[in-house]
C-alpha cells in the first residue's frame, strides 16, 4: 500500500494545502510519495523532501508542465502510477486538485472521491453532500483510490523532520492541446483566506465594494482575512477568489465574523466548521443566526466601526 500526493506549487513555494494532503496520506498508511512537477521546481522538491511523513519525492521538470495544465500532468501521473503501482492518489481539494484528479481517475477508469473530510480506513472515507448538510460515508473498492482532500479537515504536516530521497521520473511527452497564458492573482497583505485564524466576511448587506473598506479596517486590526458571500461577489463588490461557500472556499478559522450575510446554505457550507461564529445582521430572522454562536442584531454600518474603534483602544 502506497499513496502518491500530487504537490501543488508555483515553482517557487509549495501551496499549503499540499501539507494537509500529505497528512491525510499518512493517515491512510503505507508509503507516502510526493510528485513535484513543474518547469523549474528543484527548490520545491527540496522543500517537500523535508516534510515529515514523505518517504519519496518524485521530480519531473519540463516546460510542458508550465501552469500545471491537467492535459499535460495527467499522462505524467499515469506513467508514474504505472511505474510505482500506488494504491491511492491524492491532492488537495483546491482549484488545482479538483481540475486535475478527476481527469486522472477517468483515465484509470475509476470513480474519484472529491473533497474528503475524514479517513475511516484505507478504503472508507467521509465527505459532505447537499451543501454540507449531510455526511456520506463512502466505501471505495476501486483498485486505485483517487481522492481530493479538504484542507481544513486535516492538520498540516510538519515542514521539518522528514528526509525523503529525491528521484527524477521519466517525463511524459507534451500533449500540446492547451496552453497557459496568464494569471491575475489578487494581491493582498492580509493572511490567506483558507488558513487564516480569523476571517471577516461581508455580504450583500455591505451594499457596495467601497463599503468593504469597513471590513478591511476591522480585519487589519485583528490580522484577519477578508471573505465574502456569493451575493457580494456576484454583485461585483469584490473579486471571486474571496468567495466563501459551497462553490467557493471552505474555511474553518478560530473566529468567523459574518457581516451583512443572510446565510444561504451554500454560504454556510463554506464556513460552518469555524470554531466560533459571530454574525452581525439587521434581520433577526436571518438564517446565519442559526449557525452563529454569537449574534448581533444591528446595523453593520454602526456596529463594525464601533468594533474597529474599540480595537484601537
Amino acid at each position: 500500500q502506497s499513496t502518491l500526493v500530487v504537490a501543488e506549487h508555483n515553482n517557487d513555494t509549495l501551496t499549503p494545502i499540499t501539507l494537509n494532503a500529505i497528512s491525510a496520506a499518512s493517515k491512510i498508511g503505507g508509503e507516502v510519495a510526493c510528485l513535484v512537477a513543474g518547469t523549474n521546481c528543484t527548490k520545491v522538491a527540496e522543500e517537500v523532501s523535508k516534510i515529515k511523513g514523505v518517504q519519496k519525492v518524485l521530480v519531473a521538470q519540463h516546460d510542458a508542465y508550465k501552469g500545471a495544465l491537467a492535459e499535460e500532468l495527467t499522462p505524467l501521473i499515469l506513467a508514474t502510477q504505472k511505474q510505482f503501482n500506488f494504491t491511492h492518489i491524492c491532492a488537495g481539494a483546491s482549484a488545482f486538485g479538483k481540475n486535475l484528479l478527476p481527469r486522472v481517475a477517468a483515465k484509470l477508469d475509476v470513480a474519484p472521491i472529491s473533497d474528503i473530510i475524514e479517513i475511516k480506513s484505507p478504503d472508507t472515507f467521509v465527505r459532505t453532500i447537499y451543501a454540507g448538510n449531510a455526511l456520506s460515508t463512502v466505501k471505495c473498492s476501486e483498485p486505485v483510490k483517487v481522492l481530493t482532500v479538504r484542507g481544513t479537515s486535516f492538520e498540516a504536516a510538519a515542514v521539518e523532520g522528514g528526509g525523503a530521497a529525491t528521484e527524477e521520473v521519466s517525463l511524459s511527452s507534451p500533449v500540446g492541446v492547451s496552453e497557459w497564458l496568464e494569471q491575475n492573482l489578487t494581491k493582498s497583505d492580509r493572511p490567506e483566506l483558507t488558513s487564516a485564524k480569523v476571517v471577516v466576511s461581508g455580504g450583500r448587506g455591505l451594499k457596495s465594494g467601497e463599503n468593504f473598506k469597513l471590513l478591511y479596517d476591522l480585519a487589519d486590526k485583528m490580522n484577519a482575512a477578508v471573505g465574502a458571500s456569493r451575493a457580494a461577489v456576484d454583485a461585483g463588490f469584490v473579486p471571486n477568489d474571496m468567495q466563501v461557500g459551497q462553490t467557493g472556499k471552505i474555511v474553518a478559522p478560530e473566529l468567523y465574523i459574518a457581516v451583512g450575510i443572510s446565510g444561504a446554505i451554500q454560504h454556510l457550507a463554506g464556513m460552518k466548521d469555524s470554531k466560533t461564529i459571530v454574525a452581525i445582521n439587521k434581520d433577526p430572522e436571518a438564517p446565519i443566526f442559526q449557525v452563529a454562536d454569537y449574534g448581533l442584531v444591528a446595523d453593520l454600518f454602526k456596529a463594525v466601526p464601533e468594533m474597529t474603534e474599540a480595537l484601537n483602544k
Binding site: N133, V138, N184, K197, M222, N240, T247, L255, P287, L296
Partner: protein, 280 residues
C-alpha cells in the same frame, strides 16, 4: 465554424448559465446547433424542455431509471456524455462545475479525459477564436487564462453569465422541438456498479449517516484570537430554529422531508451521529 454544442442539464435545480452561454455562441454564429442533454428518469424531460425554452435547438434524453439511476455517478455520466459527443459529432461540451446535490465537481474533467479533449474548468469567460478557445478560469488566488484547442469541454462557473429566463413564446416554441430518447446501452455504456464508490448515497440497504451539530456543551468562550472582542455589547443570542420553509426549498425534497419529520434543527455541525436509513 459549424460546430455543435452539447449542454448537460441536471434534474436538480440548474442555474442555466450553461445554456445561456451556448445560445450566445450560436447567436454569434460561432456554432450551429445547441443540444441539451440530460440523464435520468422520465421526469428529466421537463428539465430538457426548460433548456429548449431557453434556446437549445433539440434535446437528448438518456433514459436511466430505477436501479440504474441509483448507480449513476459522475463516471457513468461522463461515459454517456463522451459517447454522445462522438455520436453527435459535437465539438464543444458545456457542463456545470459542481452539482448542488453531490458536490462532486468531476463530470466535466472526466468527460474531457475520456474523449482526450482539453478542459476549460471553472470558466468565468470564454471566447471562441477559430479552432481555439480562450478560457478565463476562476482559481484559488484569482483568475487564470488558458488557451485550449477545440474540440473541448468547458465547465461553467456561476459567473459565466446571467441566466436567460424563458419567455412565453419561447416556451410555446419549445413544445415543438424534438427530444430524442436514447438508452445507455445504445451508446455502449454499461451502468453496472463496478467497484463503485457510492455506498451510503441512495441505496436502500446501505445507510447514510447524517450528523448534526449538538447544542454546545458549554457556551464557547471567544477564543484568544477574538479576545479583543471583549468590550463589545455582543448579545449572545443562540437562535434555535427548526428548518424553515425557505431553507427547505433549497434542499432536495427527500432529504428535506426526512429532516423535517425528525424535527432536526439545521445545525449539523458537530457529531451526535444520527443514523438514518437511506432514502431518508
Amino acid at each position: 465554424m459549424s460546430g455543435r454544442v452539447l449542454v448537460g442539464v441536471k434534474r436538480v435545480i440548474d442555474y442555466a448559465v450553461k445554456i445561456r452561454e451556448a445560445v450566445k455562441l450560436k447567436e454569434k454564429k460561432l456554432i450551429k446547433e445547441v443540444v441539451a442533454v440530460s440523464c435520468g428518469p422520465q421526469q428529466v424531460q421537463e428539465t430538457i424542455r426548460t433548456a429548449l425554452a431557453m434556446g437549445a435547438d433539440r434535446g437528448i434524453h438518456v433514459e436511466v431509471s430505477g436501479k440504474d439511476y441509483e448507480n449513476l455517478g459522475p463516471l457513468q455520466v461522463s461515459k454517456i456524455l463522451a459517447a454522445l459527443a462522438k455520436k453527435e459529432d459535437a465539438n464543444l461540451i458545456i457542463l456545470g462545475k459542481q452539482a448542488i446535490d453531490d458536490d462532486c465537481n468531476q463530470t466535466g474533467q472526466m468527460t474531457a479525459a475520456l474523449l482526450d479533449w482539453p478542459q476549460g474548468t471553472f470558466a468565468s469567460e470564454v471566447a471562441l477564436e477559430g479552432d481555439t478557445m480562450k478560457v478565463v478560469r476562476e482559481i484559488d488566488g484569482g483568475l487564470e487564462t488558458i488557451k485550449i484547442k477545440m474540440p473541448a469541454v468547458v465547465t461553467a462557473d456561476l459567473r459565466l453569465n446571467t441566466p436567460r429566463y424563458a419567455t412565453l413564446p419561447n416556451i410555446m416554441k419549445a413544445k415543438k422541438k424534438k427530444i430524442t430518447n436514447v438508452k445507455p446501452g445504445d451508446l455502449g455504456v454499461e451502468l453496472t456498479r463496478r467497484g463503485e464508490c457510492r455506498e451510503g448515497r441512495r441505496g436502500h440497504t446501505e445507510r447514510t449517516v447524517i450528523r448534526r451539530r449538538t447544542e454546545p456543551d458549554s457556551k464557547p468562550s471567544v477564543p484568544a484570537a477574538g479576545g479583543a472582542l471583549g468590550p463589545f455589547p455582543l448579545q449572545a443570542r443562540l437562535i434555535r430554529t427548526r428548518l424553515r420553509p425557505s431553507v427547505c426549498a433549497s434542499l432536495p425534497q427527500r432529504l428535506c422531508v426526512g429532516l423535517c419529520s425528525m424535527g432536526l434543527p439545521l445545525r449539523m455541525k458537530r457529531h451526535a451521529a444520527l443514523t438514518v436509513t437511506a432514502g431518508v
